[in-house]
Symmetry: C2
DNA sequence: AGGCCGACCGAGCGATCGCTCGGTCGCGAG
DNA sequence: CTCGCGACCGAGCGATCGCTCGGTCGGCCT
């Protein structure tokens, strides 16, 4: 069992100091097997993709794939954890670079989520649609990370409410709603769509702010 | 090939006059094969479910299933179209019962979507997650209906903007966002959750209104 | 009583599934 | 030059897949 690892110059999972350039995205540097699996999972889903599909798309034989991963399940798990690691890493980096203003902190994290779900739409889509295909252990770990991401948002909203800059009485619901917007965006966004990524970020950010101020009637 | 049809007292697809009681939901009255397929698709996905799974869960043999549906694909298609027919029917009924006020019309349709995604969460989830598993023809038909649903929302938003009661410069984006909120809700909502369905509707409706007023800076 | 038909089933078809066995090959170390 | 080892492959295992063939059975019409 060898690693088939990402290039060495890629920031490692959990390394908060990396991703300091959290707004910019290069080519996804997944190892070829994961890249092939990603494309297939996006199009046909985990159970609709065979190891032979993945092998052919990565230019390998079936045993060639099994030389790098012990099972199809391990391929999915590797893909999902790479996804969550990058999302959380970028969100933490965004938060760390945002200073003290509650609104700026909130917007930095939301922007990091928006950009991730646009630039890594395939990963983001698989990360949410194939959770049920994960083995219980990996699924629990994945859910914990996703909850951590949402908790970050919720805390930021609560701090904004405490500071008097947000009005929502239900920060947890708003955090969930913003996550839903991001997941949804990963489904419909196309790079060659009518709006630029930057403009889309502006629009969605405005919607996120509106959610943070919703329910102000009291 | 016979029908395995819903009970005769169920409103038929496309019958706008039905669903006049669009807010109330009884037990889903899917034929047993579709009910079994729904449960399996929610848990394991279309490709993760075998005909033998569906047969066993509906108390039939494999040929017994094929007596009612020509293929596994036809089972999925029947489930998806039943879903979209009910959603669109209830939304149209909500709109028809809402009077002339633009805000009331908007809120009626959003509420119909919210309640549907709560009461029929399984169908709603499969309807959005298994679109890629549909054959191209049925997929195109399904997408057309989904677009019709979103267009209804967008037109309502445009009318509200024209009437001066909504502020968003991007009604299409807001319509998409509201749909995303509904789809997301189908993923996390549980009937035995901490909030009642009615309270959740109030909260989510407030968020939808906030989205309709977002981006007012110009 | 006889015949038809809708509802269903036991057995099994060929294809494909995830995965493995027993290799080959090239490259770097000694 | 040889040896070990990581990277890979041809062939094929048993299991399961979607689907079908050739029935049985019971209720309804005449």
């Amino acid at each position: 069992m060898t690693v088939d690892a990402p290039d060495a110059d890629t920031p490692e999972a959990g390394d908060t100091a990396a991703w300091d350039d959290w707004r910019t995205y290069g080519e996804p540097d997944l190892p070829r097997i994961l890249a092939a699996a990603l494309e297939a999972f996006v199009e046909h889903g985990y159970h609709g993709t065979s190891i032979r599909d993945i092998a052919a798309a990565s230019g390998l034989s079936v045993p060639g794939v099994y030389h790098h991963y012990r099972s199809k399940q391990e391929i999915l798990a590797a893909l999902m954890s790479a996804t969550m690691d990058e999302l959380l890493g970028r969100s933490r980096a965004a938060l760390a670079s945002a200073g003290d203003d509650p609104v700026a902190r909130f917007e930095a994290v939301v922007e990091s989520m928006l950009r991730f779900h646009m630039a890594r739409r395939g990963q983001a889509f698989v990360g949410s649609s194939e959770m049920r295909s994960l083995d219980p252990d990996e699924r629990a770990a994945h859910i914990a990370l996703r909850d951590e991401q949402q908790a970050m948002l919720r805390v930021l909203l609560e701090e904004g409410v405490a500071a008097g800059v947000f009005a929502t009485p239900y920060p947890a619901d708003v955090a969930r709603a913003i996550s839903s917007l991001c997941v949804g965006m990963a489904s419909w966004y196309r790079e060659d769509g009518p709006q630029s990524a930057d403009e889309l970020v502006v629009r969605e950010l405005a919607m996120a702010r509106a959610l943070a101020d919703s329910g102000a009637t009291g």
